[in-house]
C-alpha cells in the first residue's frame, strides 16, 4: 500500500465524544481542505482541544467518522480497522500547549522524533540541524532541551514537528504560556510552515492571534460547532449570537 500523495481533505462527520456518559462534543461535522490556515476558536471548555486530538487520532470518537482523503476511520460503531487512521497519522504532527521535551539535547529531541518516524540514522543529524536552523535554534543544538527558555522550548517543539515533514500540523494553544516576543516568533514559524505548503490547524482563545493567522474560522461553543466561515467574514459579520458576543469580549457562559 503506497502512501497517498495527500491525506487531505479531512472530513469529519457527526463527531460525538463522551467521557463517563457526559457528552463533551455534540454532532460536529466539518471539512478541512488543503492550503488554508484553519483556526478553531472559542472560549475555554468549548471543545477545541478535544476536537484537535480526535482529528489527530489521540482520542477515539464515541460516535461519528473521521475520514482522511479516501481513507475512513469510524468510531466504535463500525469495525473499520485503525490502520487507515495510523497511516494518515504518519503525515501529521502536533504541537502542544506545554512542549513535552525529552531529557536530552535539543538536537537529540529532533533526532529522536526522526528515529520514531523510521528515518535512516545517516540522515537524522542533517535533517535535525536543518530543522534547528529553520527555527533559530542552531546555536542551542547541544544544550539540554529542558534548560531552554519557554519560548525556545516551544520553537524546539516546532522544529521537531517540522523535521518530520508533516502534511498537516496541529497546534493546541501553542502560545498560551508565552510572552509577546516568543509568541511573535512562534507565529512567524507557523507562517513559514504555511508558506511551505503545510496545512495548519490550530486552536486558540486569543482573538488577535486568530485574526493574524486564520484564513478560516471554526467557532466552537459548549461542545458544538457554531460556525465555519472565512476569517474576514467571521470577524466582520459573525453569523451567530454567541460569536458576536465572543468577538465583543463578552462572557459566554
Amino acid at each position: 500500500m503506497t502512501a497517498p500523495s495527500t491525506i487531505l481533505p479531512l472530513e469529519v462527520t457527526d463527531l460525538v465524544y463522551e467521557i463517563d456518559g457526559k457528552r463533551l462534543l455534540h454532532d460536529i461535522s466539518f471539512r478541512l481542505s488543503i492550503g488554508s490556515r484553519t483556526v478553531l476558536l472559542g472560549p475555554n471548555g468549548a471543545g477545541k482541544s478535544l476536537t484537535l486530538r480526535l482529528c489527530h487520532g489521540l482520542l477515539t470518537p464515541t460516535m461519528g467518522a473521521i475520514r482522511w482523503g479516501s481513507q475512513i476511520s469510524d468510531g466504535k460503531m463500525s469495525g473499520e480497522p485503525a490502520g487507515a487512521l495510523a497511516r494518515a497519522q504518519r503525515h501529521q504532527a502536533m504541537v502542544f500547549q506545554r512542549p513535552v521535551l525529552l531529557r536530552r539535547s535539543a538536537r537529540g529531541n529532533v533526532e529522536h522524533a526522526l528515529k520514531l518516524r523510521r528515518v535512516a540514522r545517516a540522515q537524522r543529524r542533517a535533517r535535525a540541524d536543518l530543522a534547528l536552523a529553520q527555527t533559530g535554534l542552531a546555536a542551542l543544538g547541544d544544550q539540554p532541551a529542558r534548560t531552554l527558555s519557554g519560548g525556545e522550548q516551544q520553537r524546539l517543539a516546532l522544529a521537531r514537528a517540522w523535521a518530520t515533514s508533516p502534511q498537516v500540523l496541529f497546534l493546541d494553544e501553542p502560545t498560551a504560556n508565552l510572552d509577546p516576543a516568543a509568541t511573535r516568533a512562534v507565529e512567524t514559524l507557523i507562517d513559514g510552515f504555511h508558506a511551505a505548503g503545510t496545512k495548519i490547524v490550530m486552536t486558540t482563545h486569543d482573538l488577535g492571534q486568530a485574526q493574524r493567522i486564520a484564513d478560516e474560522i471554526l467557532f466552537l461553543h459548549n461542545g458544538r460547532l457554531l460556525e465555519q466561515t472565512p476569517a474576514d467574514q467571521f470577524f466582520t459579520a459573525p453569523q451567530t449570537r454567541a460569536a458576536q458576543a465572543f468577538i465583543k469580549g463578552e462572557l459566554l457562559w
Binding site: 489527530h56 536530552r104 520514531l116 519557554g150 504560556n177
Partner: protein
C-alpha cells in the same frame, strides 16, 4: 567501648594490609551482588515498563503482587532456591548448590521485584507526561519503552542502587544456598555471622564496618546522581 576501638583497628588493618582472605570475601560479595543486580535490571526494567504501559484484566493484582514481592524474606528465597538446586530437586543435575552461581540466582530473585516495581512507578509517572507526545510521533510499544527508560535514567540509577543495597546486605539467602564455604562462597555478611558465632567480635565488627562504609558509599553515589538529575532536568524560569 574497647570492642569498638579494637574493631575499628581491625577494620583499618584488614583494609590496609590487603589481606588475601579479606579481599577475597569483599571481592566475592561484590561479584555476586553486582551480577545479581545486572541480571535483575535486564529482567526488571522491561518488565516494569511493560506493566506500566499495558492494560489487561488482573493488572491491578499483578502490580499488588509485584509490590508485595519487594518484601520477600531472604531466608525463604534461600530455602526455595536450595530446594530447587539440591541433589533431589528439579535442577539438581546442574550441581549448582553451594556455588557463587546459586548465590547469584537467589539474590536475583530478591532484587528483580524491587527493580521491576520501582521501574513501573517511574515509567507510569513519565507516561503521564510524555504519553500524548509519543503517540503523536507514532511511537510503537517498543519505542515507548526504550524512550521512557532512557528518560527515566536518573531515577533508574537510584533504583539500581536500592537493589544493590538489598543484595549486598542480605545474609539469609546466600547463607542457605552458598553454605559460607571458606574461599568459595563466603561473603561479608556470612563471614560476619560466622565470626560472631565463633566469638571473634572484633573481626565481626571490623567486617561490619567495611560493609557499612560500602553501603554508605552506595548511598552517597545515589544521592549525588539524584541531585545532578534534578539540576539537569530543571526547567529554566520563563521570562
Amino acid at each position: 567501648m574497647g570492642e569498638f576501638g579494637q574493631a575499628l583497628m581491625n577494620a583499618a588493618t584488614l583494609i590496609v594490609s590487603f589481606d588475601g582472605d579479606f579481599l577475597g570475601i569483599v571481592g566475592l560479595s561484590l561479584r555476586v551482588s553486582l551480577s545479581a543486580v545486572l541480571i535483575a535490571c535486564i529482567i526488571g526494567f522491561p518488565l516494569g515498563a511493560l506493566l506500566a504501559l499495558s492494560r489487561f484484566p488482573g493488572r491491578g493484582a499483578a502490580v499488588a503482587v509485584l509490590n508485595a514481592l519487594m518484601g520477600l524474606p531472604p531466608v525463604v528465597v534461600g530455602l526455595i532456591v536450595f530446594l530447587l538446586l539440591s541433589r533431589a530437586g528439579p535442577f539438581g543435575v546442574l550441581g549448582l548448590l553451594f556455588t557463587p552461581t546459586a548465590m547469584i540466582i537467589a539474590q536475583t530473585i530478591l532484587v528483580t521485584p524491587i527493580i521491576a516495581a520501582l521501574t513501573r512507578q517511574t515509567v507510569t509517572d513519565l507516561w503521564a507526561e510524555y504519553g500524548e507526545q509519543l503517540r503523536s510521533l507514532g511511537a510503537t510499544r517498543a519505542d515507548t519503552i526504550a524512550t521512557l527508560l532512557w528518560d527515566g535514567r536518573f531515577s533508574l540509577t537510584t533504583i539500581v542502587l536500592a537493589g544493590f543495597g538489598r543484595a549486598i546486605a542480605e545474609v539469609g539467602a546466600v547463607m542457605i544456598v552458598g553454605g559460607n564455604i571458606d574461599n568459595v562462597t563466603r561473603v561479608m555478611t556470612t563471614a560476619i555471622a560466622l565470626e560472631t558465632s565463633k566469638g571473634d567480635l572484633e573481626m565481626a565488627l571490623g567486617l561490619g564496618i567495611v560493609l557499612l562504609v560500602l553501603a554508605l558509599a552506595v548511598n552517597g553515589v545515589s544521592q549525588a546522581i539524584a541531585a545532578g538529575a534534578s539540576r539537569a532536568s530543571q526547567q529554566a524560569v520563563r521570562a
